[in-house]
């Protein structure tokens, strides 16, 4: 599936809004805000991200990739998705 960085980030933002904010607007979340430090996402939430990445972009997340550097903000997640499933 063809996708751009902006599309990936928008899809992730929608997922955060729908999944972690019970549908509340996610525009207040900054691109670099830490999900973990803000308390928005805990270890269960990380598993939800993993499931979303697999379903949406067919990304298989390896154990050693489960790092804050890959998962702990919209920017980091977007970069991770783009690395793992670059736009065709």
């Amino acid at each position: 599936m063809k996708h751009t960085t902006d599309q990936v980030k928008a899809a992730l933002r929608d997922f955060v809004a729908g999944n972690f904010l019970l549908g509340k607007d996610a525009r207040t979340i900054g691109d670099q805000d830490s999900f973990l430090d803000s308390g928005l996402v805990d270890s269960t939430g990380i598993l939800e991200f993993v499931g979303f990445l697999e379903e949406t972009w067919g990304i298989a997340v390896e154990d050693e990739e489960l790092l804050p550097d890959n998962f702990d903000s919209l920017d980091k997640l977007t970069a991770f998705v783009m690395r793992k499933a670059p736009a065709a």
Binding site: S43, L66, P68
Partner: protein, 329 residues
């Protein structure tokens, strides 16, 4: 100026502490007009110390012990918990909860969740859940299931969300059914129930809501595990209990508490929690726990994230508005 950080900060006046806890147990029972306490005994250090403190406060005739093994319990669980009740001279009863768990579908539901990631898993296999990530690598906390076939071969798979929640939800029947039986005996005897978490478990949410987390009084929830061990020796808890490594005794494969939940073995966790609670920077604690400063920083962070993740477990039901007449604030 505060004292420099050292494990000495965990040292208690054991006699004074046992007196203080005993007075609070007695006061509590008087305030709720109950005549004694029920203690669920696991053969572990926390329930044994809780029992010993209650016997010291109330006398053995006002303490009732319950042994509640099930299919997955370690072989020595029942003999150890019986040795504690015999040692302290209390009345006790064994209730094997396997049939109740079977009827609730505990094993079937858990096995189905494990099979979703390990298709060959069957009821004659053994399993446990282990925590990965954390202190050494800086990785995020995720759970793996480890399953062992009857021929001894082990398979380890990361648990996706649905399977993880399924295994935990099914396993939680164990703590909830035990608490249900504790309340049955408490009601028939007009006693109160005890909860046996230590401070690490209580603070970090290492309990099942409305399972082992439910109790009328929790006599050692303020004590670090190191202090619980010190009290155990002072109170004369049998040595075989004091030497037993902390285990969850929830899964069919042996599972240490540190591989399931805590980032470190309890002695190091105690020191990190103590240091953090009293405002000592990681650099003060690191030499005492044999870790580098970045690792202790990660432990501090992990403590906060567990507090956040398990806050819900501590909360009572939320009302839309206070019902002051019923004692709500």
């Amino acid at each position: 100026m505060p004292a420099p950080f050292s494990p000495e900060l965990l040292r208690l006046d054991l006699r004074a502490e046992a007196d203080r806890i005993g007075a609070i147990v007695r006061d509590y029972l008087l305030s709720v007009r109950r005549k004694g306490v029920v203690v669920g005994l696991s053969g572990g250090i926390d329930s044994s110390v809780t029992l010993a403190l209650c016997v010291r406060a109330l006398g053995p005739e006002r303490v009732f012990g319950l042994h509640m093994p099930e299919r997955d319990s370690a072989e020595d669980t029942l003999s150890l918990s019986r040795s504690v009740s015999a040692h302290f001279g209390i009345a006790s009863e064994a209730e094997d909860i396997t049939a109740l768990l079977d009827a609730a579908g505990c094993y079937r539901r858990r096995d189905k969740a494990v099979q979703s990631v390990i298709p060959g898993y069957a009821s004659d296999w053994k399993c446990k859940i282990v925590l990965s990530g954390g202190v050494e690598t800086g990785g995020l906390n995720v759970f793996h299931v480890v399953a062992q076939a009857p021929d001894g071969t082990q398979t380890k798979k990361r648990l996706p969300l649905e399977a993880y929640l399924g295994v935990v939800a099914a396993s939680n029947f164990k703590q909830r059914i035990r608490k249900m039986l504790e309340y049955y005996h408490a009601d028939r005897l007009n006693y109160a129930t005890t909860g046996t978490p230590n401070r690490l478990e209580y603070d970090q949410g290492f309990f099942v809501k409305q399972g082992d987390g439910a109790a009328d009084i929790k006599p050692i929830a303020h004590l670090y595990k190191t202090q619980v061990y010190a009290l155990a020796e002072y109170l004369g808890v049998p040595e075989e209990i004091r030497r037993r490594p902390p285990t969850t005794d929830t899964y069919s494969l042996p599972q240490g508490q540190d591989e399931f939940y805590f980032a470190l073995p309890y002695a190091q966790m105690d020191l990190c929690l103590l240091g953090k609670n009293h405002g000592y920077p990681p650099a003060d604690v690191a030499p005492w726990v044999g870790l580098g400063v970045p690792q202790v920083e990660r432990v501090y962070k992990d403590i906060d994230s567990k507090r956040h993740a398990t806050r819900y477990l501590h909360l009572g039901p939320r009302l839309v508005e206070s019902v002051v007449e019923a004692g709500n604030k």
